[in-house]
Amino acid sequence: MLQFKLVLLGDSSVGKSSIVHRFVKDTFDELRESTIGAAFLSQSITIHPNDGGEVKDVIIKFEIWDTAGQERYKSLAPMYYRNANAALVVYDITQEDSLQKARNWVDELKNKVGDDDLVIYLLGNKVDLCQESASTEPSPESNKGEDDEQKVRVISTEEAKQYAQEQGLLFREVSAKTGEGVKEIFQDIGEKLYDSKKDEILSKQNRQINGSNNGQVDIHLQRPSTNDPTSCCS
């Protein structure tokens, strides 16, 4: 089993917690309370990497930090992304400034983490709102945002996609409400992280297998918690 740390970042009420809950429990709560502080959850997936023609199952356990988007908790964010292997930066496709906030997060991650191995995934959430508004009938769900009933897409797929390409980010548009694309995010991240850490993992595995029993092995992949390269993984 491989273990990866993952952090969700983004403006408040873009749907970070909803994405996590879609992934962890496959549920959606229309009236979710805002996150205070941060919530820690975990979930495992199986990926099927293709190593030289041989397909095998690899279980990946994600430890997820679902952070609060509120400005007030911003100063705590480094604590959550410091050790992360992957960061999901979420914006709301119906909120103009949420993409700008997402850009800020990407910048911060690139500046503060400074690790090329960190997988950053840009996510446009709430695509369900726009699919419904495209249809002729106004759907009952659209009164979710009570003040403005009709939500329209304000951030085009192309715009975000282009930005993601420039910055070398993974990109996907999803809906936590319908579940569209949510599983794929984690599958993508799992595969990407497996790819980048493959050599490290295999050598570790071999060492452990040769060293002791060849039973199940847990491999924890963490980057050092400080910038000091000599510090040990906990």
Binding site: S12, E33, S34, G37, A38, F40, D66, L76, M79, S234
Partner: protein, 644 residues
């Protein structure tokens, strides 16, 4: 002053304004009331002498109006005309110069009205009925809720003598400020609104401006700060708490004392601090005095404030009133075992340094404290714990045991300028109920999450192995029928030493869901009974009157006949008798007796069943309750907790 129309009563007759006889006074009703014709309040001369700038509050029930209502459909004359308050302030005038006493005239008027009308029809069957009721209740075998099926034929509901609880039962925080009998406002010293329980922004704006003017007048001219403005006839009270740069105001018609309202305001202020910390708050306002704090607070803050306000106003929440915590009854041996397991776990984890784990708490559903882990010589303040409990029961109620939270909270009474970090995890519960207990570990370090997480993981496994988790989930508290004390409807027993209280489960409406309006009405009713009981034993400053007190309070629909009977006092008691309400044919006659009993060790507030009028009988039961609570003290209260 430019007032919003909403606050101007259009129907105020000019003649009513005569009372503002000082030439420089403007008489402006600032609180809109119900749709009923309104009149302005008669403020007596002392008011104007004491408070040069008076703000009369319009009253929705002029004397003559309420009389006519009474003769027709007989709503109970609300108690908040508060003969009790009046009587108290009569004896204590001059204690608080800014606390404006009601006049003697008022008491006369208030007590005459019920008499006049109850003469018409009230008394005809009361005597027989109450005697019958009492004979049934008196039988030892008919203890309420006992296994024996011989339940009394008389309803064991207690009547509602408080008008507002019917009026206003569904008063969820709303945009409608008109027709609320209780409201909270928070605004900045510059007059910008921050929060209001009821009332839209446009309504509040002008209101805060006016209130601000009044307050600053007192700041500039008065020798002391303005605490309360009370009106004479309606019992309306405006209480202010000045925590510059923030001002808080409570408006109430429910007959609470200024001190109670101040406590409630302080709790709201504490919430704001818990979210921002005092340092942050002062920093925000140091740059610009007219900073708009609303932009800085988050939706969660407003939701939490709403929740706290409705808890204070509508729910049975004696925690604030008694300034103590509710405790989960738990077998003494199990509690010791629980504490030992936690201490052992702490012992085992020597790698966790002292500052990393400051406090540990296990909180059972409905905000009942189950276990405390604390360093020797340190305890957490009840206000801080109340805030934490409110957050857990409201904000995190949808969460389950799969997630762990890491939440920065400022505990204002612990340290108002810094944050502590709370690790919160709900404990697995395999029983039917979806209510979950929570484990809270409090740290001073913001990156201690993983140390605390591993501590918690190990601890929970241990608790499960020892069967303690099951016991926590199974603990249901106690019922009134567990105690051999007949004729008691409900009680609250507070252990002074432990700063904790217990009360039996609500049995009467147990089938009604927690959120139904009936349940709310019941809680509000009970809450008000207790609030009135409590107010008979405290001074204006909130301190208990003396070391030992025994007060009986009677809520009755009968008239003067009873008064004479009640003159016979128990020789060691100080008796507060008064008559409230007015009965009708349809409604059960009101004949309630409650008592407040304070000793150096405990406080007991007890409400008898309707129809029980014999003080000696009730006191006998109270003694049994007190004895029972003392006997089971180690089960009912946490005396020390796990101390390290």
């Amino acid at each position: 002053m430019n007032l919003n129309e909403n606050y101007l009563d259009t129907g105020v007759p000019k003649s009513q304004l005569k009372h503002s006889r000082s030439g420089n006074l403007e008489c402006i009703p600032i609180v809109a009331s119900t749709s009923e014709p309104t009149t302005s309040v008669n403020l007596d001369e002392t008011f104007f002498k004491k408070a040069p700038l008076a703000v009369p509050i319009s009253d929705n029930r002029s004397i003559s109006k309420s009389a006519s209502i009474n003769s027709l459909n007989t709503t109970y004359l609300a108690s908040r005309g508060s003969p009790l308050q009046a009587k108290k302030s009569q004896t204590k005038t001059g204690v608080l110069s800014t606390d404006l006493a009601t006049s003697n005239n008022d008491i006369m008027q208030a007590s005459i009205i019920p008499k006049k009308h109850s003469d018409l029809y009230a008394d005809w069957g009361n005597d027989i009925r109450s005697r019958l009721a009492e004979s049934i209740y008196s039988m030892e075998t008919s203890v309420r809720g006992s296994e024996i099926k011989r339940r009394p034929y008389v309803s064991n509901e207690i009547p509602n003598v408080f008008k507002f609880s019917k009026l206003n039962i569904n008063s969820e925080p709303s945009g409608n400020q008109v027709s609320c009998d209780k409201n909270f406002l928070i605004f900045t010293s510059a007059g910008k609104p921050i929060y209001s329980m009821h009332g839209k922004d446009e309504q509040i704006m002008s209101y805060t401006g006016l209130v601000n003017t009044v307050i600053s007048y007192f700041q500039v001219n008065g020798p002391s700060e303005l605490k309360t403005i009370s009106t004479l006839t309606s019992g309306k009270r405006l209480t202010f708490l000045d925590k510059s740069p923030i001002l808080l105001m409570a408006q109430s018609e429910r007959g609470e004392s200024s001190n109670e309202l101040l406590n409630q305001l302080d709790f709201l202020y504490s919430y704001i601090l818990s979210s921002l910390s005092e340092r942050q708050l002062l920093r925000l306002f140091s740059k610009r005095e007219n900073f708009d704090l609303r932009n800085y607070l988050e939706t969660t803050d407003f939701e939490n404030l709403n929740e706290i306000c409705s808890l204070i106003c509508n729910r049975m929440f004696p925690d604030l009133l008694l300034n103590s915590l509710q405790c989960l009854p738990f077998r003494h041996s199990s509690r010791l075992k629980l504490q030992n397991v936690i201490l052992q776990q702490l012992e085992k984890r020597q790698d966790i340094p002292r500052g990393t784990l400051l406090y540990g708490l296990i909180i059972a559903p409905q905000n009942r404290l189950c276990c405390v882990l604390r360093p020797r010589g340190h305890t957490l303040h009840t206000t801080d714990l109340h805030l934490l409990f409110c957050l857990i029961s409201h904000q995190f109620q949808n969460l389950d045991e799969t997630q762990e939270l890491w939440v920065p909270i400022c505990f204002p009474k612990f340290n108002s300028s810094g944050f502590l970090y709370c690790y919160i995890k709900f404990l697995p519960n395999d029983t039917q109920s979806n209510e979950k207990s929570a484990l809270v570990l409090i740290s001073a370090e913001k990156d201690a999450f993983f140390s605390l997480k591993s501590f918690s993981d190990e601890l929970i496994i241990k608790l499960e192995n020892e069967g303690l988790l099951k016991k926590i989930n199974a603990s249901k508290g106690f019922k009134l029928s567990d105690i051999p004390a007949p004729m008691v409807h409900h009680f609250i027993y507070k252990s002074k030493q432990n700063v904790q209280y217990v009360m039996p489960h609500f049995e009467v409406n147990s089938k009604i869901s927690l959120e139904s309006s009936q349940r709310l009405e019941y809680e509000l009713k009970l809450k008000t009974y207790y609030q009135q009981l409590h107010s008979t034993v405290v001074r204006d400053n909130g301190n208990i009157l003396s070391r030992s007190i025994l007060n009986f309070v009677k809520w009755s629909s009968k008239d003067s006949k009873d008064q004479t009977v009640d003159e016979t006092r128990l020789n060691f008691s100080e008796l507060d008798e008064y008559i409230i309400g007015n009965s009708s044919f349809e409604q059960e006659s009101v004949n309630m007796l409650g008592m407040a009993w304070v000793t150096p060790k405990f406080e007991l507030y007890l409400i008898g069943n309707n129809g029980v009028v014999d003080k000696k009988v009730l006191f006998k039961s109270a003694r049994k309750v007190a004895t029972w609570c003392q006997k089971h003290e180690s089960r009912l209260f946490i005396s020390d907790g796990a101390v390290f």
